[in-house]
């Protein structure tokens, strides 16, 4: 069970659900690689927009089989914003798949069968011990904290999690999910409404960048989701996070050699690379990415401590 892994110096890696709209073949290739990557678990499913799901849902059972054969824990994510009837049915169906569900919209909690345990994703507002305990009481076994939380809050929550048998996970790598909306910004950029979007978000493998009028790189739109344009990285915080009792780092998928990214974090966590070495490799692997870790530092999320 997950909480056996909780405790200092026992941080493992969790691959979060893919936020982007990739072709089915790309999805297959990605999870094929993840099955060989040094990660403990993978959360899979459509997280952002239910309209995308028909295009790649056929890949999900194949990926689950592949990942489980490779010894990974697998959970299914709910959507981050559930409004339509169809989306509620979709969420209810997730509960019957025989896998843990990662709740990313609190409404899904009501659909979790009595007595079943579940995971909680970063889109659920777990800011304090009271909420963590309430969720634990309803069956939460893992909680990935909201990415905007500073280290001080993470430490208090990891401690509370230990007392409740809940593994606490922190946003470790990837563009940060900053907002979710009823409106599709990708469609809006193409002068289309959400209902006639023609799936334009599929044109941008890592979302579409938004810069300021002064050319400052700023945000990334991904359909109804808004992400940071920086790639958040907890690389420089591995020691404090381990001391705080954090159980896992969440790595959020992007294009490029993501398996190599996972390897860098695993090596750094195992102490076989210094954070500085891993950062150097990461920068070489990800040209064009800029790193940030301001949220953990308690400041503006876009900032980088290095």
């Amino acid at each position: 069970m997950a909480h056996n892994a909780v405790g200092p110096a026992a941080i493992d890696l969790t691959v979060g659900p893919n936020p982007f709209f990739w072709p089915a073949a790309g999805v297959r290739d990605f999870y094929e690689r993840m099955s060989a990557a040094p990660v403990a678990r993978v959360v899979i499913g459509e997280w952002v927009c239910s309209k995308r799901l028909p295009f790649w849902q056929g890949e999900i059972p194949l990926a689950i089989d592949r990942l489980r054969q490779a010894g990974k824990d697998v959970a299914l994510t709910t959507l981050a914003l559930i409004t339509l009837k169809r989306e509620r049915r979709l969420t209810a169906d997730l509960m019957d798949m025989g896998l843990p569900v990662e709740v990313n919209d609190l409404s899904a909690l009501r659909l979790v069968p009595e007595g079943a345990s579940f995971w909680v994703g970063p889109m659920v507002n777990v800011y304090n011990e009271g909420t963590l305990r309430w969720l634990a009481g309803r069956g939460a076994r893992r909680i990935c904290l909201p990415p905007e939380l500073p280290l001080a809050s993470v430490a208090v929550l990891a401690e509370a999690g230990r007392a409740e048998g809940v593994a606490v996970e922190v946003w470790g790598h990837g563009r940060v999910p900053l907002a979710i909306s009823g409106r599709c910004y990708h469609a809006r950029l193409h002068d289309r409404a959400k209902d006639s979007c023609q799936f334009v978000c599929g044109e941008d493998a890592d979302g579409r960048d938004v810069d300021t009028l002064d050319g400052q790189r700023f945000l990334t739109v991904n359909g109804v989701q808004t992400l940071s344009q920086t790639t958040a990285s907890a690389l420089r915080w591995l020691g404090p996070l381990a001391n705080a009792g954090v159980g896992s780092l969440r790595l959020s998928p992007h294009s490029g050699d993501f398996a190599a990214v996972c390897t860098e974090y695993a090596e750094a966590l195992a102490g076989r690379r210094t954070a500085g070495e891993a950062e150097g490799t990461l920068r070489a692997l990800l040209p064009g990415h800029r790193l940030s870790d301001g949220f953990l530092a308690g400041g503006a999320g876009a900032a980088w401590s290095g």
């Binding site: 409404s107 011990e129 909420t131 929550l157 739109v221 808004t226 503006a300």
Partner: protein, 327 residues
Amino acid sequence: MVMELVCPAGTPAALRAAVEAGAHAVYCGFADETNARNFPGLNFSREEMAEGIAHAHVRGVKVLVAINTFPRAGDEAIWHRAVADASHAGADALILADPGLLAHAADRHPGQRLHLSVQAAAANPDAINLYAEAFGVRRVVLPRVLTVEEIAAINREIDVETEVFVFGGLCVMAEGRCSLSSYATGQSPNMNGVCSPASHVAYSGEAGETVARLGGFTIHRTPKGQPAPYPTLCKGCFTSGEQTGHIFEDPVSLDATRVIPALARAGVSALKIEGRQRSRAYVAEVVRNFRAAVEAVAAGRPLPEAALLGLTEGQAATTGAYAKTWR
């Protein structure tokens, strides 16, 4: 039946103005990080809250106290104290968002009426029924991402009251689930009760333009002498590829006056006016217009022509998500 008009008060003066202008209920918060309009110079001390509630109650008006940020880990006592103080001061309802705080209030203040804040972003019947069953919440403020048809469908599946925004600032993101502000400034609605905080705003004149920046990020540039709106992040002007413009939302504000009859038919119990940061003059004028509107709707009369445009941001208004085309 007349829909309940729930009106903002950032100061005791605004509370009195709202009561005088015809509010059925006024919502306000304490002058600290426990409420989502923790702006400089605004909100109520403990004494002002008690006086405000007494003032309203004498005139038959309710006071709803918003304690709708998410308590900081390790500092929950600050929020617990706010709940206790508001309850003891005689608040008609507490407007809460955080499940942990709701659990605390339901446990320690069992007689206290609880409303679910828009910051909880309960956008479907499952979420609403969850909060109703778990904490006895009696009313839900719906997020501004729903169409009128969706609101009607929600009301058919729930037993608690619904309250919707009809006027004022417009969040384009699901409320309570947005970290854009903290990404640029370190301060967020959820943690600090502020969005695009004034402390991180800088206006400067550059080559005939007024540049408004938030946390160093340019939010808009306007020619000198033109209106330079407050740099709320999601209303900014940005560039993406070949396109430059208001990528998230134009600097418009919500005016759902025309939708009030449809909202009434959709089973909505209460209409909310945004704007605890606005002046008592604004509050009085908007409340007066909306009170006339809800009275007209209840009596089956046509809506009075509301002359509210001068009070909206950038002089333009939208019916927002209530119309499906907004998406």
